[in-house]
Structures are given as C-alpha cells and as structure tokens.
Amino acid sequence: MSWEMVCGLETHVELSTQTKIFCSCRVRFGGEPNTNCCPICVGHPGTLPKLNREVVRYAIMAGLVMNCEIRGDARMDRKNYVYPDLPKAYQISQYDKPLCEHGHVTLSSGREIGITRIHIEEDAGKLVHQGGNTFVDYNRGGVPLIEIVTEPDFRSASEIREYLEQLQLLMKSIGISDCKMQEGSLRCDVNLSVRPAGSKKLGTRAEIKNMNSFSFIEKAVDYEFHRQIDLIESGEKVVQETRRYNDGDNTTESMRSKEDAHDYRYFREPDLVAIVTTREEVEAIRALLPELPDTKLARYISSFGLSDADARLLVRYPKICEYFEAAARGLKNPKAVSNFILGQIFRTLETEEDKEAARISVSAEHLRELCSMMEAQGLRLNLAKAALDKMLETGEPAARFITKEDLEGVDEDALLAICRAAVEANPKVVSDYLGGKEKAVKSLIGQVMRETRGKADAVLAEELLIRCMREKA
C-alpha cells in the first residue's frame, strides 16, 4: 500500500520589538541570566501586564503578508500549565479570538498551504537542567511571539522546508523578526500523521518538538513518516503523543502523551482588555508594508534585466537588496552591479550573518561611482574588478585606484601598433596560429593586455592580432 503524509506546522516567531510583550524590559538575546527582568515578567503577585502596541501591529503585518483576515475583536487568554519556565503558572496567549485567521501561502508548485491562525503570546523562560536541579533564566520570559498555525496541508518534507524558507523571508522582509533559528527566534513544532494515499480520513497524529534547523526538521519528518508507516504495517497503532527529535541518531522519541486542549483550562485573561482593530487601521498598516519578496523578484527580472537565479539570490537578503538598489540607482546596466555583488562582494561576506546584515566594506555610493565609470567613461571590466578588490580591502572610493589613463583606454591606431609589435616578436606563436592552433592567439592577447595595463579592449585586440598574423601568411 502507498502512504500519504499529512502534516501541519506550528511555528513560533520571536518579534524584534524593543521591549517585551507586557512590560518595558528590553528584548535581548543572551546576556547575564535574569538581567532583562522586572516584577511583571518574573510573575510577582500583584503585577499587571500592559500590552505592547507594537506587538499587535507586527502580528497584523504578519497576518496581512500571509493573506489572513484580521479579527476586529481579538482577546487575550490564559493558558494554564505548571512548569518552572512560566513563573505565573500560566502563559498569556490567545485562544478562540486570535488576531489573524484564515490565510494561506502559495508554494512554487502552486499548492496552497492554509494558515489556520496567527496569535500573539509571551515566550517562556529558559531552563537549564543540571544534576537533578533546574536553573531558570527569565530573560526570554515575556519576549513577544507570534504562533503561526497551518492546516494539515503538507505532503512532504520538502514542502515544509519551502514553506519555512518563505515564512522566514517574509518575516525578515517586513522587519518584524530576525528569524534566527540558531538563537531560537524561529522554532517549529510538527504535527504528523499518515493515511493510505487517496484517503480523506486523518490518522492519529504525533507532535514533534525541539527542532531548530531546517535540516533537522526535514530529517525528523522523514523519520517520523516512516516510523508511523512501519507501526501501521506491522499491525500496531500510532499513539497520540509529543515526541522529541534527537539530532544525534536522527530519530524521534516519546516525551509525553498529548494533553487534551481542555487540560490547559483556557479562560479570558481578566487583566487585559479587548483588542479592537478597525478596517481603516488594518488598511493603514497594509499601506505601509514594504515590497514583498515575490514582487521584488518579478521587478528585478523585468525592470533590471537580472536572471531568475541572480534575482533569487539577492531577494533572500533584504539588506543586500537595499544596497543593490542604492548602488544601481540611475545606472543603465543594473546587471553589472548585481554581478559585482554576487561575485566579488559576496566572496568577502563569509557567513550568512554577514550577508543578512550586508556588512559590505564598500558603500553603495562608491560602487555606483565605479559602475558609472564603466558606463559613461569606458572603464574596462577587468580594471573595474581590480579596483573593486582594492576598494573592498580599503573602503576607499574608486577614484583612488583608477587613473585618468585607465579611463581613456587605448585608441585603435595605438593598439594596432602594439599588436603588430607583439606579432613581430613572437614568430613561433604566429606559425602555430597559422598552422591551425587558433588558441595560440590567447597568449598574444595576454601580452597586449599587459602592455596596455589592461586598458585595451580585449575583443578588438584579438581582431587586430589575427589581422596582423594573417598578413604574415
């Protein structure tokens, strides 16, 4: 029998607001334990939460780019559970009236993944288990999160990966999260079940937690898919439970049987009031959204003449895009700018983080100057490349490395004379060439370029060299 995967995702995204969701403590990753804390986020009795306006706005932005409807009347709720990472013994979240509902994202195959809901909630503290004791750091407690819940629409691990990459890029593009998986600002739980291919009924699902990289998620999903098929085919049953992914041996193991929803005893958060959003407010937020990756991609291809592959590489990094557009402003050939960025400049950006932050030692203005010397003053590509290397090393402008002579180039008469001299001086090359070794001309071109310090037009030089050699025949 062939089996089909039925999978849904719950993705937690930490919002990059200045402050926590219910108090004015700063949101900061790392740092000494319990130093970004106050009586509200460590849950002292008698304290009252006050909702950060920006968290609501960010969540609505996320909802809009994932094609959600925005609820006019959202509410906050208490989700009760007893565990030391939550000092109040409840998490303030949203239950039946989340901010955003009924959205979707479209995969490259054209398949739509339904977004059930996006709600806001507070993050929990961090636990360190050691020698049977538990050490708690509440710096992360109260950091604002959105939880994005999908319909069980995924049919393969690669669809999950594509969705998460899209989600990450969308969130970064609208600037609401840095989505760094290694720092836990994007975390994912997977709900997975299997059913006979073609069946409409849902099987019993298991939830997999503890995954903080795309490749872990892909591996865990593949492992869990086959584990469930093996269980069913050997006559056993899949148990509804929470499982943990172990990256060491690439398996999943049972953590605990799944609590039913009512065990959380959700009820309305009495310390917070309703969140009422009008249609006008939603439209005002929509109007301020930046250009989204798909639109940008299409524009780079159609108006800048970039290839699909090059445009995709740029669009992955919103800050690189800003740099690219600033450098290409007013130029006739933006493709040259993109070539410099994806080639020489990317080679100086060693880590993903360098690319994310666009840590480029040459300013966009300086790159534009260099490119306009090529467009307007006939600077040759090879000289421009050499200058860019020096600019990247020193951070200084192009003019510092390009002489007046470089811009002048070499006129055809002068070039012909140099070519003729090269032909005279190399009878062996000439006879090779005339004897049918067409590649022999390359060594002469190299000589001519050295002679002219790279200022000559290599194509013209080749033409002239061939002409001179033919005269010898």
């Binding site: 700063r26 804390c37 509410r75």
Partner: protein, 91 residues
C-alpha cells in the same frame, strides 16, 4: 454530574494530593459548585464577560525602561544561584 475520576484528574492538574476519604466529600462539593454555576448560566443574561468593563485597546508604547538588577530580581527567591532561579529536585 461530576465523577470521582474527574476529581482525581483535576487534583493531578492542580498538583494536589487527594486521599480516598477526601474524594467523596470533594466530589459532592464540586457537584454543588457546578450546579450553582448552572443556575447562574440559566439566568439568561445577554451580557458577555468579555465586554464587562467595556474597555478596549489599552496599550503601552514600545519604549524600553531599565530592568531590575539581578540581585533585586532574585532576592525573593533566596538569592538564586549563579544568577539563576533554582528549582530543586523534589523529594
């Protein structure tokens, strides 16, 4: 009507130990509480708890204020350990 098993489930959730002797009394008391709540439900009010204070959109601006010093935060937890709150193993 509430059952003894439900009382035991609730006790587990509330982290309470309930003895056999307490169980019958608690089952009866909980049943009374729930039927009292049913009486209120049947009062047929239109008012929704959600809107009881008629307030909405009470927000704080996203402006940081200083956090508390670590010692201050840990003071009520016996000073913690190495800057952390310490939850000792039970038993």
């Amino acid at each position: 009507m509430i059952t003894r098993e439900e009382i035991l489930d609730l006790a587990v959730l509330a982290k309470l130990f309930v003895s056999e002797e307490e169980l019958d009394a608690l089952t009866e008391e909980m049943s009374n509480i729930i039927s009292f709540a049913d009486t209120i439900n049947n009062a047929g009010t239109e008012a929704e708890f959600d809107g009881i204070n008629r307030l909405s959109n009470v927000f704080r601006e996203d402006v940081p204020a200083p956090s508390y010093p670590q010692e201050e935060i840990l003071r009520n937890a016996g000073g913690g350990e190495d800057g952390f709150f310490l939850v000792r193993r039970r038993g």
